[in-house]
């Protein structure tokens, strides 16, 4: 008895929620759908540039409310796939144009539009069924209770029952009871179905996600491989270099200890050798550190690190840096080594005598270009140093573009999406 009571109560609650929601679905979605279409069309006239960002905001709010209710009422999670605006969108009219362009490029905008259409039709019908199945039976009972008298002369159809007497009135009541039962059982699933429908329209297409996952898997594998081989190289360098030297120094010191009284001259010579050895070990360790995390990069960030790098090259280079802050350490490091590799490429292969490096950050992108006046003909392909750079950048969703006609000049452009702090 108790369970039946609570079941009716949940059903009524679902019905009530559906009742409220049905108005939102019909009025809200329809109005927003029409206004959105209008606003998109008016972009051509310029008016849309003002209204679109504002309206999209309203649509997203509307959709987000439905997402929230889906999670609260039916435990259905609908992902929020909106691309955030970059932090540096300008103010005023240009900002509006930028914002509108970004909105039109976001696939979520078009999914929202599709959802609005679906919501005001199929979504609305589902909601109406959800509450009507609970409300309509009341009419059957009222008819049986005496309202049938009004329709004695003029038959009233309650669903498929023609009501014109007490008997048919009771039939209507019986049908109402049956319908109520159906309603009690169906209201929750119907509300749920409504949210599932919303999710199907609002969630990003699986292909989009699948593509992204493929790409992430690939770059993760590459990153792991690179890190592993890098570690092996470091281990080997330590083992063959500094470590061996330290062992030799220890041995020398032992010999010196034995010689110091017997043959001071020889001991002195060995001491000098040992000191040279320790200096060499230091040099090797320093080079190793530079290969792992260059000191200037750690101390000053990407801009100065690239400048310092260029100073060490045998080719005259001009470096322009426009960075209002520092990127995250892994991004900085990847960018630095990418630049380092492309500069090495220039020195080794381009036959250039001048080069220009430009580092700047705009619209959430770190852009670096390396240009030289060499002989050109560089390609990204198997075995070329450029594909190594491409892999390095890929880990951070960065891209590499090369323009290198035969005869030069060569321009290598790198882009990494990142925020500066």
């Amino acid at each position: 008895m108790r369970s039946a009571e609570s079941r009716v109560r949940t059903a009524l609650r679902s019905g009530g929620r559906a009742f409220v929601l049905s108005f939102e679905a019909l009025a809200g979605s329809a109005v927003l759908f029409i206004l959105s279409l209008l606003s998109f069309t008016l972009i051509l006239l310029g008016v849309g540039l003002v209204t679109t960002p504002w309206l999209t905001q309203a649509v997203r709010k509307h959709a987000n409310r439905r997402r929230l209710l889906a999670a609260q009422w039916s435990d259905i999670r609908v992902p929020v796939p909106y691309r955030p605006f970059p932090k540096d969108v300008r103010d005023g009219f240009t900002g509006q144009v930028e914002r509108t362009t970004l909105i039109m490029k976001d696939p979520a905008t078009w999914r929202d539009l599709r959802w609005l259409l679906l919501d005001m039709t199929a979504g609305f019908v589902l909601l109406v069924f959800c509450w009507a199945l609970l409300v309509y039976p009341v009419e059957g009972l009222v008819l049986a209770a005496g309202l049938w008298r009004v329709f004695e002369d003029d038959t009233y159809w309650y669903a498929f029952v023609p009501v014109d007497s007490q008997l048919t009135g009771l039939a209507a009541a019986a049908l109402g009871v049956v319908l109520f039962h159906v309603g009690v059982r169906a209201s929750r699933p119907l509300l749920r179905l409504h949210f599932v429908l919303a999710r199907s329209a609002l969630a990003p297409a699986p292909e989009e996600l699948a593509q992204r996952i493929d790409r992430l898997t690939e770059t993760r594998h590459e990153a792991v491989d690179t890190a592993a081989s890098e570690l092996r190289r470091i281990e080997r360098d330590l083992h063959d270099g500094a470590q061996a030297r330290l062992v030799a120094m220890g041995m020398n010191l032992g010999t010196i200890e034995a010689l110091i009284e017997k043959d001071p001259a020889q001991a002195k010579k060995l001491l000098a050798m040992t000191r040279t050895s320790s200096a060499e070990a230091l040099t090797e360790l320093r080079d190793l550190v530079r290969g792992i995390h260059p000191p200037v990069l750690a101390e000053r960030g990407l801009g100065d690190a690239v400048k310092a790098l260029a100073l060490r090259l045998p080719i005259t280079s001009e470096v322009t840096v426009e960075l209002p802050g520092r990127a995250e350490a892994p991004v900085e490091s990847a960018a630095y080594f990418a630049v380092s590799e492309s500069l090495t490429n220039v020195v080794k292969h381009a036959g250039a005598d001048r080069m220009w490096v430009d580092v700047h950050h705009a619209e959430g992108m770190l852009r670096i270009s390396v240009t030289d006046n060499g002989k050109g003909g560089a390609t990204i392909g198997a075995g070329s140093g450029l594909s190594g750079i491409e892999r390095r950048l890929g880990t951070f969703d960065g891209v590499l573009a090369v323009s290198s006609p035969a005869g030069g000049p060569t321009m290598v452009t790198m882009e990494i999406p990142c925020a500066l702090s």
Binding site: R275, A279, P295, E299, R300, D304
Partner: protein, 215 residues
């Protein structure tokens, strides 16, 4: 001579204190962080500061920045910067005010105590002490450039030693020539670099700067 020393690694700081004391320097303070260094430089007014580039709390180039700030407040304050690595970029920043009294050396140079102490004294006296690694890097790269290309091999050798901050006497001793010969080479170098006749010491700093600015 009173020294303020800034180095965050205890072992190195301790070693440096002992070495400097062995050569009759007075250690006014031996500190281990940027803020302490700034305070010590302002309050103790040392004759020379020996500073590690990388200091806490930021562990970036805090020592270098503190030294540069202190020199802005007190132009010509002799500072010898020690670093695990040397970069032209930092050398240029240190020399930029053209005041002299600047040294920039690899930490390994303390292996040779005599040379290291010589560098400290030179800096304290208003001279320069640039690490041979910075200078040789510059020379190997710039040898084809004008007007450095105009220097004869002998003059380039003198330039290298002069850029490190050596006096004519020291250069003469190292190259086994007379001091007069060195003086002749240096005046040739100055005229080839287009440096006007002025205070000799400052011209040496300017010559190094001329090098660095070509980078």
């Amino acid at each position: 001579m009173r020294v303020v020393l800034a180095e965050d690694l205890f072992l190195l700081r301790d070693g440096l204190v002992r070495m400097l004391e062995a050569y009759d320097f007075e250690i006014a303070a031996a500190v281990e962080s940027g803020p302490e260094l700034t305070k010590a430089l302002a309050e103790l007014k040392p004759d020379v500061a020996v500073v590690d580039v990388r200091l806490p709390p930021s562990h970036t180039d805090e020592g270098l920045q503190c030294a540069l700030t202190a020199r802005r407040d007190r132009p010509g304050l002799p500072v010898l910067v020690l670093s695990q690595h040397v970069e032209q970029l930092y050398a240029r920043e240190l020399l930029a005010d053209g005041n002299g009294g600047i040294g920039y050396l690899l930490k390994d140079r303390v292996f040779d105590a005599d040379q290291f102490i010589d560098a400290v004294r030179r800096v304290a006296a208003g001279g320069t002490a640039m690490d041979p690694q910075v200078i040789s890097q510059l020379l190997s790269r710039r040898s084809v450039d004008e007007p450095m290309g105009a220097l004869t091999p002998r003059e380039r050798e003198v330039m290298e030693l002069m850029a490190q901050g050596r006096s004519n006497g020291a250069i003469a001793a190292q190259m086994v020539v007379t001091e007069r010969a060195v003086a002749k080479h240096t005046s040739n170098i100055f005229s080839k670099l287009g440096l006007p006749v002025s205070d000799d010491d400052n011209r040496r700093v300017l010559a190094v700067l001329a090098y660095l600015d070509r980078g």
